[in-house]
């Protein structure tokens, strides 16, 4: 598996797509922070929070995360590198796990600008706000605005960001079985983006139904897993972590079950 992962990292390094996506999230993260800074100052209208949300991490990662799955998993079916891995003796489970590792690292990479921008923005002590549309890193920026920074706060911030990134990875892990089974980039992006919109609606449903809420909270899409801040208690962080890891493992099992005996065209 080590060889597969290293080879995929080599391929990733040579890919223009990941560089472009990193550039997009870098610019978007700056745009998000700027808008969150200018809105509370009244320099731009608060009605523009919808546009600000477009630049936010949750929106970007929902689209670009699925694009990465499309490029690096579906693309490998198109250029037959997965075929080569299997015909030269790699177990299908090993292929899946190696793809998941590289995929998650790619997600981490495109989220890195948001983490850096959030840390820099919070360290300025300015006020940031994007109103009710804030989720993920944008929510941290909004909720922890003007927080007093100390060594322990920075440590807590980094841990919270790491867990938030893992929550995103868990959410995006759904793209893995989609990519392995559908093998078409366009389907993966469209279905996942649809699912991410649906999850927003399901969150509203969870507010009105306690039973559904119980179930939904056990997925990385539900509960307050994507609303972590410096004020989030350790038990909630651990819960988000537990739910995410459990979800990722389940998704890997589902992918393996579907792909184990699948014909590779």
């Amino acid at each position: 598996m080590y060889n597969l992962v290293v080879a995929d990292f080599y391929k990733l390094r040579k890919s223009m797509v990941i560089k472009i996506l990193f550039g997009i999230t870098s610019l978007s993260s700056i745009a998000m922070a700027l808008m969150a800074y200018l809105i509370p100052q009244g320099k731009i209208s608060s009605s523009l929070t919808g546009i600000g949300f477009m630049f936010s991490d949750i929106n970007m990662v929902s689209i670009l995360g699925a694009v990465i799955a499309g490029v690096f998993i579906c693309g490998d079916f198109e250029n037959k590198t997965i075929h080569d891995a299997i015909s030269t003796g790699f177990n299908r489970g090993t292929v899946i796990i190696s793809k998941v590792i590289v995929y998650f690292c790619s997600i981490g990479l495109i989220l890195l600008p948001y983490a850096i921008v959030t840390i820099i923005a919070l360290s300025t002590g300015f006020e940031f706000s994007m109103g009710s549309v804030a989720i993920g890193f944008l929510n941290m920026l909004t909720a922890d605005t003007m927080a007093v920074f100390s060594t322990s706060t920075i440590g807590q911030l980094l841990i919270t960001m790491l867990v938030l990134t893992i929550v995103y990875m868990a959410q995006l892990s759904i793209c893995v079985p989609l990519a392995f089974i559908l093998k078409k980039q366009v389907y993966v992006v469209a279905i996942y983006y649809g699912l991410s919109i649906l999850s927003g609606q399901l969150m509203l449903l969870a507010d009105s139904s306690s039973i559904f809420n119980q179930i939904f909270t056990r997925t990385p899409f539900g509960g307050n897993h994507a609303f972590l801040t410096l004020d989030t208690v350790a038990s909630d962080i651990l819960k988000a972590l537990g739910v995410s890891f459990t979800f990722i493992i389940l998704i890997i099992i589902v992918t393996y079950t579907l792909f184990r005996k699948a014909e590779i065209k």
């Binding site: 060889n3 080879a7 080599y10 391929k11 890919s15 075929h83 299997i86 030269t88 177990n91 014909e263």
Partner: protein, 307 residues
């Protein structure tokens, strides 16, 4: 080392009830080049995909290097090199980067093989040109180089000379022969180009509608294709002696069905007929036989369709 590299036993593959492979039983021995001949849809690629683990048989068994069973096969596949349908290449990388990617994937530390393989297939001067800008022939060459990474003992090549220019075809042919001779590599190669296969392979497997119609060696094929006069009569022993005494030839072969293949006097059918008649042989058949590889293939699969 196992005498056989690949063995299939009653291998069957169905897609929605339609058999793509039907009871295929073949054995491939080490150090030979096997030409897999068949029409489009005959089952050539299906057979290769099953061996490579890209597909699973509906029934029957596959053995590689003396081992059977899913786990053992997976392990033995590390000794394979494959290029099935299309070469496995990353389009946004150069030829060398593609080789490097595959080398890393296969865990081969020796970086020198990158240049060696590129030289081997004549792509050492492609520099920074991306594979997406390669011609079909260049991609085929690179695909072969990729399949050769790690020095496989068994090479599976599906239509490897597609898109190659005549010089490229000759180079690949020589390369395959060299691999077979010098490294005792077993090669399973499918092609529509029968004259080319005739010059490359040492053994032939003819597949039609998922069934193996015939497996034969080059000498058996040559024998089958060799032009001759086919003589049928009731008195085979007498016929043989007349051929030797009256026609002064021993260049004939008595077949199991008592017919005689005469390889001399091909243009003198009347003379043969006359001599046999004068010596009291009642000939029931005297015909000129012998095929090109294409004719032979068509006679086996029973039709004049495009190969």
């Amino acid at each position: 080392m196992n005498k056989w590299v690949l063995k299939t036993n009653n291998l069957t593959k169905s897609y929605r009830g339609v058999k793509a492979l039907d009871d295929v039983t073949i054995t491939l021995e080490a150090g030979k080049i096997y030409g897999l001949i068949g029409q489009n849809g005959a089952g050539k690629t299906t057979l290769m995909r099953l061996v490579a683990g890209l597909s699973f048989p509906t029934s029957g068994r596959i053995g590689l290097f003396g081992h059977e069973g899913e786990q053992a096969l997976q392990l033995e596949r590390k000794r394979l090199g494959c290029m099935i349908e299309h070469p496995s290449l990353v389009p946004n990388m150069t030829a060398q980067e593609n080789i490097r990617f595959q080398r890393i994937m296969k865990g081969i530390p020796n970086q020198e093989i990158e240049r060696e393989l590129l030289e081997f297939v004549g792509l050492d001067d492609t520099g920074k040109k991306k594979v997406r800008d390669f011609s079909l022939g260049m991609k085929q060459r690179l695909g072969i180089a990729v399949a050769l990474i790690g020095n496989p003992e068994f090479l599976i090549l599906d239509e490897p000379i597609n898109g190659l220019d005549p010089l490229g075809v000759v180079e690949i042919r020589n390369l395959l022969k060299k691999l077979c001779e010098e490294r005792q590599m077993t090669i399973l190669i499918s092609s529509h180009n029968l004259p080319e296969l005739y010059q490359t392979a040492t053994d032939y497997i003819i597949i039609h509608k998922g069934e193996i119609k015939r497996s034969l060696t080059l000498s058996e094929l040559e024998q089958s294709c060799k032009h001759h006069l086919l003589i049928s009569c009731q008195q085979t022993e007498k016929l043989v002696s007349i051929l030797e005494i009256k026609l002064n030839t021993s260049n004939y072969k008595v077949m199991p069905n008592k017919t005689v293949k005469l390889y001399d006097y091909l243009d003198q059918k009347e003379k043969v007929s006359e001599v046999l008649f004068e010596n009291g042989i009642i000939v029931t058949n005297l015909s000129h036989e012998g095929d090109t590889l294409e004719d032979y293939f068509i006679s086996i699969v029973g039709g004049g369709k495009h190969v």
